[in-house]
Symmetry: C2
Subunit: 211 residues, 2 copies
Amino acid sequence: MDEIPTRSRTRIQQEKRELILEAALDVFSTKGFRGSTVDQIAEAAGMSKPNLLYYFRSKDDIHTTLLQRLLDMWLAPLRELDDVGDPITELRGYIRRKIEMARDYPRESRLFANEMLQGAPHMMPFLQGEMKALVEEKVVVIRGWIESGKIAPVDPHHLIFAIWATTQHYADFDVQVRAVLGADRSGENRFEDAARFLENLFVRGLATHNK
Amino acid sequence: MDEIPTRSRTRIQQEKRELILEAALDVFSTKGFRGSTVDQIAEAAGMSKPNLLYYFRSKDDIHTTLLQRLLDMWLAPLRELDDVGDPITELRGYIRRKIEMARDYPRESRLFANEMLQGAPHMMPFLQGEMKALVEEKVVVIRGWIESGKIAPVDPHHLIFAIWATTQHYADFDVQVRAVLGADRSGENRFEDAARFLENLFVRGLATHNK
DNA sequence: CTAACGATTGTCCAATCGGTCAAAATTTGC
DNA sequence: GCAAATTTTGACCGATTGGACAATCGTTAG
């Protein structure tokens, strides 16, 4: 077969492809693309290498498919940042959504981080296109909040970077966070603590009124 | 030869080893360990592969040496965080030192990030040992500042994480930052803007007094 | 039952990569 | 200037890896 239209895929094909992508996400996110072997992915998916290559034309095909899927979900939290609500509430919600993503989808975060570290060879068009456009849109919103005196005057771009950095840190640098917090403090409540700290930090850092 | 004591190395050996480490840092930091080949490093260092392997026993040896050197410089900025000065000034200085490191040593930052993404297979002892110890020491300092009412009551661990995340972000996610800022705003002043924003954010976020 | 189609695997191959080695080229010590 | 030591290289090797392929197994429709 050459290229199966998604429409005409067997139920088994759909399921197996899902299974493979799931396994590949595990492997790619921690070992990187070049550090992963098709055999490792196949074993993680519980099938033989030739069988895996029956569902995906190549290792690269799997990787590309994963990145493609990542695009959609990656911008979702920022998309929800809305002009209508109270700025502080909106930003607080954005931080919370991002922290939840770091907690619930750490592998996707690491996959993205790997791609960025390598200079975004596959995602550059996405960064310069869809992502930049969305950021620009939200920058306008934030700038509006500043001009109406609802939040402190800060650089909107760097505000967004700071939220990205602090939240994704808990997925990408999970080992470091765990190691530094120690065995006892490394329970799953570290995301709760992080959320509390970050909301606090940003709310205080952006407030225009005194407490 | 088996293992040359550092003491008895020729001048040429010292220089060539430096040259190789410099080239390897370039390659490893963007392509990761598995994604890099000895040939690439050798070419970047302007020598043949066997010649490179005359100065380092193995690819792994180069990598380990780079990570080893990284340890020293990585904790330096935090070490300087001192108990004596004004808390806000101290923290502001720490942020500035970290941003300068991201600007001046982005390859080292990415090398570290790669190691973390893969679960710190080589640096785990360092994380749990030296790094955790230093953090714990500084946590005590920060806690002291909080108890004496000099900064707002926040979780010291997560404060440190936030400073790490926001500053290193400009090295590790440089491509993304550039892409989102656009060609015009991506001049080298982005580090200045970032520093200004971050100092502002943290100072406001930690202040106990009203402005 | 059986023919057709989809799924699975064992085997193999070419390319890449880390590393070796002996020989050649160069530098150094005297 | 020359011998010893150091540096550099071309050729080579074994192991790994991505992928191809033909053969086999399983399933399903008639």
